[in-house]
Amino acid sequence: MNIKRLIPLFSIIVLILGVISGCASGSAGGGSKAKTVIKIATQTPLSGPEATIGDALKLGAELAIDDQKAAFAKKGFDLQIAPYDDQADPKKGVANAQLIASDSSILGVVGHLNSGVAIPSSEVYDKNNIVMVSPANTATAVTDRGLKTVNRICARDDFQGPAGANYAVNTLKAKKIFVIQDKTAYGSGLAQAFRDQAAKLGAQIVGYEGITVGEKDFSGVISQAVAQKPDLIYFGGVYAEGGLIIKQARQQGLNIPIMGGDGMDSSATVQIAGDSVKNFYFSTVVGDVTKTAKGKKFADDYKAKFGKNIESYSAYGYDSASVLLQGLMNAIDKNGGKLPTRQAVAQAVRAITNFDGIATKVGFDSKGDNNFAKIYIYKFNKAAYPATQVSEITKK
């Protein structure tokens, strides 16, 4: 009887001892180095359905940190990466942010993938003066709150819709546009921004309709579109519905250009729509980096180090971390080669106005948005992913 009770007790004691000894050896290992440790945290989804992109962001940042390691070592700092998994979940993101805040060797964060996670987490960063450079958060609220520590290198949502509209009206010469949105914050926000800009440019909006996420039959909306005889359809939403809309529109004989936002930037769009995907355009904040020599070298380095091909977001992870490190280096120099405060790092990062990255030039405005952020327009010429980049649109 007693022995039976003792067995779990023993196992717990052994477990605790093991954990303690593990921690002890860890701290001993860290303490043996003379250099001051500086950590850069990444917060991206490393598990779950978005892990592919989250992992790409992390690996990009890791590569940037490795590239800069030697330069920091010269100044007596040991640069390290501290990856966190936000699981694309706001609760987890905030919990991780607390952990990051309590680790005083962390001077900056590269993250997140999802705006919904970035917004609450950045509140925690801001309270602790930790600078965040976001590679992928496009929601307007991310920087519109005016937090001094929050920066991003990608474009904003309210720029993507208008950029798409400019392309549709000016380049594709669309005069009658039918807009469909999926009733989500993302989809309807994008569609509204597109509609307003297109109307301003003189196009006629012949319909503005919503669909329900999760359904598969959109022929009702499509037959309405057919009746209006538009020369372009815009869809604000994600590929699961968008792919089907493209397909069903083609089935009803609408062979006009269809356009969407970055939610359609997925190989699944091609899978779902099949051959119908031809003549489909989408705008996205991520450019094709392999077009430049610099980008090609990055892709090769990435492949050599991690054994994986780059994802479209890898270069943005790299650039975010590089900008952050540039700011950090400036802050160190300003502080006479000594470890700067978190606040000083945040100021130094915000002060960057002209940084040449792989995917994009970076210069932050007073809100932390990137002045050089671009929107890229892609087109599917054949039923294969990735699509062809046909245009890039700069903010200014």
């Binding site: 329900t212 309405q224 779902i272």
Partner: protein, 330 residues
Amino acid sequence: MLQQIIQILPQVLVDGLTLGFIYAVVAIGYTLVYGILELINFAHGDVFMTGSFIGAGVLFFLMSIGFLSSVPSLIVFIIVILIAALATGFLGVGIERVAYRPLRRRNAPKLIALITSIGISFILEDVVRFIAELKTGNYIITAPSLFKTQYHLNIHSIMPFFHNVTFQASFLVVLVVTVVMLISLDIFVNRTKWGMAMRAVAQDRETASLMSINVNRVISVTFFIGSALGGATGVLFMIQYGTIDPYIGFILGIKAFTAAVLGGIGNIRGAMLGGILLGLMEMFAAANLSTITHGAMGAEYKDVFAFIILILVLIFKPEGLFGKAVVEKV
């Protein structure tokens, strides 16, 4: 305004009928089980979904052994739909055996069985998602299309107030197969010995068992038929829309259940008509709501429209369009 509604009416009818017949067959699964057990089997929508995935699996398998190129697609389709129907039929029987029969034996309240069915529905969704993700790396599956031929009905030249109609060959397949299923089910229930046994059990389970009817077996058969029909409809859905994911059963299941209620739950013909009506109403609303309301309400309110009609019908006829106030089910 009216002119525009009339112009696109033929296309709306075609699309609405496709959706409506799919609702109708799934609704029968709900109505059959309700008629016999007074149980709302929420797992039925997911049996439908499982059927579509089994169909896709068989289709991919046939494709990988090169069967698809050597045999006409109609035969491939018949093989796929038969396998899927059989598999989901046995799945339905299995669900009843494992989940519902033990509860019934212990005289558990009906609410417990209802909750169990919701649990089964979640299990099915996640098992299918797990397997699909394991096999393909993505749980949104796009099946190869079998019936791609497009037809243009040139109504416009005969009746100039209509626009032309475009549909795919798969529409005809869905139409023919569902009508065949509905008619054969009707004959089965009304003309055969097993059908009579089912009606007897629905009327009074105890008395039926006294008349030497094996009640448990009748229930198994009911689940088999309902689930097989659901699974076969899943295949039709896959053929028609091309893309399936593990969550298609949820919304569609709820709408089919609504259709069953609209027609009078427990009544087979009611479920058929309720399904077709709901499909037509939904499609009509999706295509015309913003024309009718001058853009104040868009197509996104189509479900609101359809459900308002449901509520109106139920206010004036609470037993549903075909239901009888007296207890006569199946």
